[in-house]
């Protein structure tokens, strides 16, 4: 695999951070959030910041922007020097001058970072009107230009569109256009692609690289996707608990990591190569889905509307003890299929047979007794747990509904906590008192408590950083082994799919485009869409866990390089 290996020693130093300390406002004695950060970035360099969730990556970037939330966080020491200008001592007016012109930032969430009530064109133009004296028409021309440069289609239309009228990738590009329009010396990008599917991600990464080439911009890139790091970084800093634990050029870091934490992080990155499929059990298929169709909306009182065809003619079966993965771009209908199978929504047409019962057409009341046979782990574990309920209460809810006495259910809950490797006393705590990974495990425990025959996991690990993700995947594997449940696993992360699935189903625009054993589909895709998807996976030629490149044989076979 090719890494970037440009030498920056002659380039000018753009950002110099020394001994940066950030702590909670008004509480100088509490453990600081950032504890002595040092960081250097030179012109044209891409510096990646990786590390566990909550280690202080975003806070670092906000400190550089001078945008720490004043009633929560404050600068407690150190210096931030931008080409000779000390940011930590700047007045609000100086900071305002600096922003956009000298430093620009792309925020993590393009969905929420754009003002929903202003046209996106205006939002870009605003930067110009604040910091330059271009006339209205010149500014507009410049803006349209910039929008062209970020490869937005149909710029005239998009200029006057509102954010909600654009796709996620388009919105992200608006953010980038906004950040780059004044040729800043420093660009900070905070997880700009996490929410996007790989194909869109690829476009955006290319775009930043192009810009960098043109303007010689220094880039601080924050991400937890090691694949992305491998593709774009010149140098990497690894953060843990408010400190930078290791800092090295990319090749060095990936081939010879020094710190134990770095090693742990890299080892946890799942391999893109599918694991061998388990033996297909002879047992009868547990789940049988035939001709599933789901159309949202439609109807309407005054006139018939079209409706969204979110799933069309989906067919598959799952045998006990096996895992079927559904992958595909965002909005392709993955969750829709899961929710239909769970009967959280009523499919428009088709059959869903689970453990011998046709459930697609049952009334809610008739369905009730069958609910315990199939359970779901939702994408967002935090919001799927009632924040007012203790963990114990959440865990007991299902069993009590099906007649288990409270005491017995409590005893069961305690056992389950052990199974998912959480302390028993955690039963009396509330969801907000757990970390994301722990909550995910609670959600899994809750589903397992029902002893289901089918477990549906909808993007159950996509929000977690790789080390936690690995834990959760192991847990699922264990459970499957212990109870022999069938599993439907939805994800957009091909690495995860490769590690956990026996069979894979690829969806695009509501239609199944490819379906087969994981080995076959991921290593030997026949459909163009699947192929594009796999090609776009960043860092797919590197075996992170073993600090070496994948030889072409063990990389996806058939994947065109």
């Amino acid at each position: 695999m090719e890494f970037k290996s440009q030498d920056f020693s002659s380039a000018t130093q753009v950002l110099t951070i020394r001994g940066l300390r950030v702590g909670l406002s008004g509480r100088p004695n509490a453990t600081p959030v950032l504890d002595g950060i040092d960081l250097d970035i030179r012109a044209g360099e891409t510096h990646c910041l990786v590390g566990e969730s909550g280690s202080g990556k975003s806070v670092t970037s906000l400190a550089v922007m001078g945008l720490l939330p004043p009633d929560a966080l404050e600068l407690q020491g150190g210096s931030i020097d931008l080409e000779g200008f000390e940011i930590s001592k700047a007045t609000p007016t100086q900071l305002r001058e600096l922003r956009a012109r000298r430093i620009a930032m792309i925020f993590q969430e393009p969905m929420t970072a754009l003002n929903p009530v202003l046209r996106v064109g205006e939002q870009i133009m605003e930067v110009l009107s604040m910091h330059s004296d271009l006339s209205q028409s010149e500014a507009k021309k410049r803006t349209l230009d910039m929008m062209e440069q970020v490869h937005l289609p149909d710029v005239a239309r998009i200029f006057s569109a509102f954010p909600h009228q654009l796709s996620g990738g388009q919105r992200q590009r608006i953010m980038i256009a906004m950040a780059l329009i004044l040729d800043p010396d420093l660009l900070i990008a905070d997880e700009p692609t996490t929410a996007l599917d790989v194909t869109t991600q690829l476009q955006i990464l290319k775009l930043i690289a192009e810009m960098q080439e043109r303007h010689g911009t220094a880039v601080l890139f924050i991400t937890h996707d090691m694949g992305v790091v491998a593709e774009i970084a010149d140098t990497v800093s690894v953060m843990q608990k408010g400190r930078i634990v290791e800092r090295a050029p990319i090749r060095e870091l990936l081939t010879a990591p020094q710190e134990p934490y770095t090693r742990k992080l890299l080892t946890a990155v799942p391999n893109l190569a599918p694991r061998p499929a388990r033996d297909a059990a002879d047992r009868q298929d547990l789940v049988n889905v035939r001709g599933l169709d789901m159309t949202y909306g439609g109807g309407g009182f005054f006139r018939k509307t079209e409706g969204v065809k979110a799933a069309r003619d989906v067919n598959f079966t799952i045998a006990p003890g096996r895992t079927l993965g559904i992958v595909g771009e965002s909005g392709s209908g993955k969750s829709t299929v899961a929710r239909c199978i769970m009967r959280l929504i009523d499919p428009t047409a088709g059959e869903v047979t689970i453990a011998g019962t046709e459930i697609a057409q049952l009334s809610r009341r008739q369905l009730q007794p069958h609910r315990k046979h199939f359970q779901i782990v939702f994408q967002d574990p935090y919001r799927s747990l009632n924040p007012r309920w203790t963990v114990a209460r959440s865990l007991c809810e299902g069993p009590i509904n099906f007649g288990t006495p409270r005491a017995e259910a409590m005893a069961k809950a305690a056992e389950l906590m052990e199974l998912v490797d959480l302390p028993r006393d955690a039963l009396d705590r509330y969801p907000h008192q757990f970390s994301g990974g722990q909550r995910q495990r609670i959600a899994i425990a809750r589903a397992v408590a029902m002893k289901p025959d089918l477990l549906v996991a909808d993007e159950a690990v996509s929000a977690l950083d790789v080390s936690v993700q690995a834990q959760v995947l192991d847990l699922l594997d264990d459970i499957q082994e212990k109870f022999g449940v069938a599993m439907l696993f939805i994800t957009h992360d091909l690495r995860v799919a490769a590690q956990i699935c026996d069979d894979v189903l690829v969806m695009q625009k509501g239609v199944v485009v490819e379906h087969g054993p994981a080995q076959a589909v991921l290593s030997n895709p026949t459909d163009t869409y699947t192929r594009n998807l796999i090609e776009a996976a960043p860092g797919r030629h590197w075996d992170f866990a073993n600090y070496r490149a994948l030889d072409s044989a063990s990389a996806f076979k058939g994947a065109t390089a």
Partner: protein, 295 residues
């Protein structure tokens, strides 16, 4: 009074949260002073019969409109009744009206709102009726109702409650409708919980926090509406002193004897100030952004 930040805390946490403040939320001394003032006024009103020097109803035609003196601490009203005794006693009824109206409208509104949020078929009928009740101006309805039943305490409370109920219903219903989309409700469905159980155990607690704020608002405005009703001659009978009817009776003496309006007005304002401040504090504390974002 329709949009409230939705909270992830229980009412109990809110109440206790006022005393043990969550990290990052600095409440300041204001609400504490407010609580002290409110408790003081409530106690003073409730205990009034035990310490006021005169029967608040006892008239003395020879001692009309006397200025404050040692004999009459705050002077006397046009009937020669002791203003101090009346104002202190009046607090009981005013506060009763406030609390009564708040409790009744919140409870009734909560029940109707839950039903409306739950039964889709009943929803449109209930909401049409609620819209209609809401469209009838409160004061006019109150006058009409008071004319119907006579200005008793009960009818004043009912008159104030009827137009408030639809607002509570709307609030509860909107909370129920949006909370219904929460993944944990879907999770409960998946776990086989019945709809009534979900409604009561999962959805209802979400309404408590905004209802506290709404309740304090109703409480405050009920005391004021009673004053306005008295001004229009449709309030509680003058045999029962309330801050509202003391002020209404005293209104013509505004320039001659401002004390008749000033003292009950002062207590009323302090009370409403305190109630509102506490309600606002509850709302601020309920703002999800006030909490540290855990996880």
């Amino acid at each position: 009074m329709t949009e409230f930040p939705q909270s992830r805390r229980s009412a109990f946490q809110v109440l206790t949260g006022m005393f043990s403040l969550p990290a990052g939320a600095r409440v300041g001394i204001g609400p504490i002073i407010a609580a002290v003032i409110l408790v003081a006024i409530v106690l003073a009103s409730v205990l009034a019969p035990f310490y006021v020097p005169y029967d608040p109803l006892s008239m003395n035609a020879m001692a009309r409109l006397k200025p404050p003196s040692e004999e009459f601490l705050l002077g006397t009203d046009p009937y020669g009744r002791d203003t101090f005794s009346r104002v202190m006693t009046g607090g009981r009824v005013s506060l009763l009206i406030g609390v009564g109206a708040a409790v009744v409208s919140v409870v009734v509104g909560l029940i109707i709102g839950l039903v409306a949020g739950f039964f889709r078929t009943a929803d449109s009928i209930i909401m049409r009726i609620m819209d209609s009740l809401m469209a009838i101006p409160a004061i006019l309805l109150a006058i009409a109702l008071v004319a119907l039943n006579g200005p008793s305490l009960g009818s004043v409370i009912i008159a104030i409650t009827v137009p408030e109920v639809p607002r509570v219903v709307r609030l509860v219903r909107s909370v129920v409708l949006s909370a219904r989309e929460e993944p944990y409700v879907e999770a409960a469905i998946a776990l086989g919980s019945s709809m009534p159980k979900i409604l009561v155990q999962h959805l209802m607690p979400n309404t408590f926090a905004p209802l506290i704020v709404q309740g304090t608002y109703i409480c405050a405005s009920a005391i004021l509406i009673e004053a306005i009703l008295s001004f229009l001659g449709a309030g509680v009978s003058t045999e029962i002193p309330t801050w509202g009817n003391i002020m209404a009776e005293g209104r013509t003496y505004f320039q001659i004897k401002p004390g008749l309006i000033f003292w009950p007005g002062l207590l009323l304002s302090l009370c409403i100030l305190a109630i509102n401040l506490l309600g606002d504090t509850a709302r601020d504390l309920l703002d999800p952004r006030m909490k540290k974002r855990e996880g």
